[in-house]
Symmetry: D2
Subunit: 376 residues, 4 copies
Amino acid sequence: MAMRASVHRFTMRDPADVSQLALAIERGQVNPAHIVAFIGKTEGNGLVNDYTRGYLVLSLKLLLAAQLGKTQEEITRSVIFVFSGGTEGVLTPHYTVFCVDRQAPAATAVPAPAPGTKRLAIGRAFTPVPEPQEIGTRAQVNMVADAVHRAMAEAAITDPADVHFVQVKGGCVTSDVAQAALARGAKLASSDPNKSMAFTRVAGAFGVMQGLGEIAPEAVDEASFFTRPEIWSARASISSGIEVGENEVVVFGNAAGWTSDFVIAHHTMEDALDINGIYACLDDLGIAARGDNRATGIERIVCALVKCEPDARGQVRGQRHTMWQDGDINAQRHIRGAVGGLVAGVLGDTRIFVSGGAEHQGPPGGGLLALIARAA
Amino acid sequence: MAMRASVHRFTMRDPADVSQLALAIERGQVNPAHIVAFIGKTEGNGLVNDYTRGYLVLSLKLLLAAQLGKTQEEITRSVIFVFSGGTEGVLTPHYTVFCVDRQAPAATAVPAPAPGTKRLAIGRAFTPVPEPQEIGTRAQVNMVADAVHRAMAEAAITDPADVHFVQVKGGCVTSDVAQAALARGAKLASSDPNKSMAFTRVAGAFGVMQGLGEIAPEAVDEASFFTRPEIWSARASISSGIEVGENEVVVFGNAAGWTSDFVIAHHTMEDALDINGIYACLDDLGIAARGDNRATGIERIVCALVKCEPDARGQVRGQRHTMWQDGDINAQRHIRGAVGGLVAGVLGDTRIFVSGGAEHQGPPGGGLLALIARAA
Amino acid sequence: MAMRASVHRFTMRDPADVSQLALAIERGQVNPAHIVAFIGKTEGNGLVNDYTRGYLVLSLKLLLAAQLGKTQEEITRSVIFVFSGGTEGVLTPHYTVFCVDRQAPAATAVPAPAPGTKRLAIGRAFTPVPEPQEIGTRAQVNMVADAVHRAMAEAAITDPADVHFVQVKGGCVTSDVAQAALARGAKLASSDPNKSMAFTRVAGAFGVMQGLGEIAPEAVDEASFFTRPEIWSARASISSGIEVGENEVVVFGNAAGWTSDFVIAHHTMEDALDINGIYACLDDLGIAARGDNRATGIERIVCALVKCEPDARGQVRGQRHTMWQDGDINAQRHIRGAVGGLVAGVLGDTRIFVSGGAEHQGPPGGGLLALIARAA
Amino acid sequence: MAMRASVHRFTMRDPADVSQLALAIERGQVNPAHIVAFIGKTEGNGLVNDYTRGYLVLSLKLLLAAQLGKTQEEITRSVIFVFSGGTEGVLTPHYTVFCVDRQAPAATAVPAPAPGTKRLAIGRAFTPVPEPQEIGTRAQVNMVADAVHRAMAEAAITDPADVHFVQVKGGCVTSDVAQAALARGAKLASSDPNKSMAFTRVAGAFGVMQGLGEIAPEAVDEASFFTRPEIWSARASISSGIEVGENEVVVFGNAAGWTSDFVIAHHTMEDALDINGIYACLDDLGIAARGDNRATGIERIVCALVKCEPDARGQVRGQRHTMWQDGDINAQRHIRGAVGGLVAGVLGDTRIFVSGGAEHQGPPGGGLLALIARAA
């Protein structure tokens, strides 16, 4: 018996369309009892008033509840839903389903991994629901760090270096929650919903850094939040939205003891133009596709996860950008469209998870990339 | 004595900032009397109500009028201004100044081109102001085709194969002009300003095709406009906006008889992900930079001109995109951000002219790219 | 025994929040078995990619299915959901629940209507799902007209003059449906989703006119669609969206034989500034509140239903407006915000149903208003 | 000899269209030497990247410079340009020209004001250009207060109660100015351009309050900025934008010693629905038009100036609004459209100056209104 993770990517016609997953379940390609997490892009604006995320979550929960004979609440407690809104530019609304079979027959993997070979490993954990006043604070950092530890344990990953990507989804305050909290005397990191989303992302990033040992707990300082962008994780990806309360953590790595058909790699993007970083990540997977998105091997990629950020200094490689000054299109929508276009062009595929709001997730103005591929 | 074209790229703080050009003139780097055309990106929305284009044109005209002791009207008659709004994503507001010295000393080019070597050649021409009812019709096609011929003649290009890029800027009807025209019984291709802009682009594209001999005049059929996307030019780039009346045409090619320090190449983009096409264009210029935007040689690029288009079929490489269904961000803004991000990533530079609305300019869902580089 | 209609208005925190209705059901204030229709505003953009409508519909169906022990499909077949997206400006996301008790004790109305008094009457009907090629055509007109007749019959309204408001909700083609239809050779009124929504609204408006006898069936001509704005209904309100297939029709009037506590009135708005028309509608209800939205009597209003339209001629009372030329905000969003602000200001309440896209629904550039009030 | 103020309202086709003023000058209806200020609405987004304001200012300066034989710089020093971007909903791009003839023949006013009658009086003043670090601070407050005093003196208004409207236009930091200031160690109220615009508005409002004696200088506390909305002026209207550096102040009142044909009144709007406040302002001018925007007398109105604000508490009269949570349309655009629609509906005219960002300018969630009318 062995653990075995699998990865299934589906697209949808609209945020309520879960028909591709339903069909895969019907055909036996996906065992709904094995699903541990979803990561995907929906076609809203990716900002506070983006309800496409919640709409898809509800639709998926209804499907799983029906398939598994469970209540929506039971699904909520056992599966992690991480959706980022905004399919700017060429991006395709899609979601990737991550399954874990903890009792897979050892012989199923094809090709069978050689002894000692590390293959895709997945673990997840939940935090309690933070109080409004805990959002964006040390308390949230600790919650997330603890959840990272628990998720690594579930994935049987002992060396943090084997972790290649940590996805966190956390909540934020809405206008009315903020008003209520302020009315009862609570002190909020921010009462502005968009800013509150950013605080959750920052606390989540520090939580991942602490959880992976990239930063010592005593070095975490709320005063660094937003102000010291040189402190960053190369493996943290944090999304935020009103549709969740608690923080949800999924750890992805390569580990022995797993017989998955997949491997994962990650690389830093130094800035929004860092095509070299994308190719370096392909290199790590043994895929030679420089300047050729139709090259053999590139079809092994089954999932691309990207975090990026409009450079806060207003420049990319010394030239001004206008993302922060645009009153018509939010800066996160701008950068998702641009970096999404770049990664999609390199890979020749538009089903890319690109999430903005990369504060402390990758270098300032840059971000990070993780690619999951079929094992060669 | 020889003809000599030069290329100068400047950025600006805002659409009225022409200080970099003013400084270059002051320092003798640009001779204002040699300026024949501007092509650039301003930071508006690139749609009908984008006044950043007109604001920059006015600012540049005031500068040139003062420098040359001419009136604004004289500048308007002798210089072509082609500005496309929309610096989505990483794009930088900038403009490229094209100069032609028709009486340059033969010896100035460094390195001196070998006999028979073709170097950057530029010619331009204006059409009359089309009547509202001529916009988007055969009449506008003929106007543009004729202007292409005159511009080629000015550039001393005899073989249409030596033309690598033709930029056209044309007007459109505004709501009030359309109302007035309809009131007097005129039949308009469209009374919707955004649609009218599209008609000008289509007529311009057919005009370039006819002018370059890519299509026979008798094969031009208004019924093909918009409906037969398989008819396209690989070298036509048409912009449209309310700030001009007439069609303005600039032809770029490589030609003997010019001692310019620059050369131009172009390539088709098959779709919005066609990174291979971008690298092929670099190949034509002898720049080897596959997967490496910091490679030696890439700094030779001084101007990148791109046309692109959201795929009308709603898909990119078989996957759905959401550009046409987004009520918040115009489809042209989406595609400029994505393709701009891709080209900027390949070149390592955000000063890219990316113009949407590529109907009949490049393959459907794709577009075209021209790069100007210092001669090797 | 008598028929009795009731009206309940609820607000929500987000498009999935149906807690106020759930509470009203729990408290016995609303009998879920009596619900015949919902009309409301959700906080999306009101355009093609507005999924807040579908999200609320799903949430309400789940509630009613659970309360009534029915399937979602059974709810879909028995209840009409009409949601318009877009709460621009001061507008509040809300929905009004319309109930009909067809076997109410005669004595319940307070005050009991005098014999012969007409009170609020409601009837509804569904059409088949139109084929993509039927959308925006005579076929859809006939479908809707027939449904109006059936809905009037259900409401026991015999005199069309007693009908004060007819709400229709119909579908549209999405990009992929359009592509599929075109691929199989279908001829569509439009393959553009936004335009398709407009075609459904126009066909619906002519359907209501035909159903109410405002236009003779033989006078309905597809060539009039969009082109003859002087043909309009003062009582038709049509919404469109991707979340429904069939056309759903609800007729509101005052009729004898009903013991409802409510009455309805309607009035034309000549243009977007027609405050006189709003006050005239209040006059019809016996509410004197000119220039005073805190006047006694105004609290009797329980539901305000408005259709409006950006003037296609680009002017309001001789002055230019910019709604049609704005590339950043859709014209329908502009007009909903403006007319919503006006009606809300007159009534002193932001829970106004304001729906754009009033082609042939009210005078060109104007629209119509219906108010439901408690009986005096 | 007497002072005499006059008011001329013009519309434009686009932000560069100053033809109506040019014509009025040509016809002798406006003496360009008498122009002291412009207040108007342009059709941009009204946010940081709205260049329509600067484009119109440049166009007007070119006109006046040509007409008066002055340089642009001389015009800048002698005339105040206050443009607010954003003609949401029904609003019409327009500008009002305010002229002062300080040596008018006493007999020109028709009807001649009775002795002791107060008529429209206008004065203006400029502050120095604040340093980036002064924006949004006590220093800016003092600058503005001092300018209010000087402007009142110029208007010969001695009793602050005779002041009915004070318009201030001030600058803000852009991204690059902010970066430069931070780089040299300056401490900024905010480095975010949109937030910086808000700080200028707040400092301006306190400056007007101090200047009019509504607040004692020692009671002005930076800690109150944004946090104590109950401190507000009923007569301050502050706009901000990147196109000016200094603060520009125009004071409007009624004063003896002026023979103008016009009078001014103002009134508070308690919230965004306060139609009663608008009618109260009409009452003050002797115009009876309750519920009737075609009433006799309403045509006397020649200028309407409005400040408004999305309620920070997220509610209007107890009902939720969505303005602050909308990631697609800025909250200020929402509120301008709604309040503009209301005021336009009351007055029957879309040429309304509606400016958002009313922090400390009118009650929280409300705003203020000033109307200028021909003397009865």
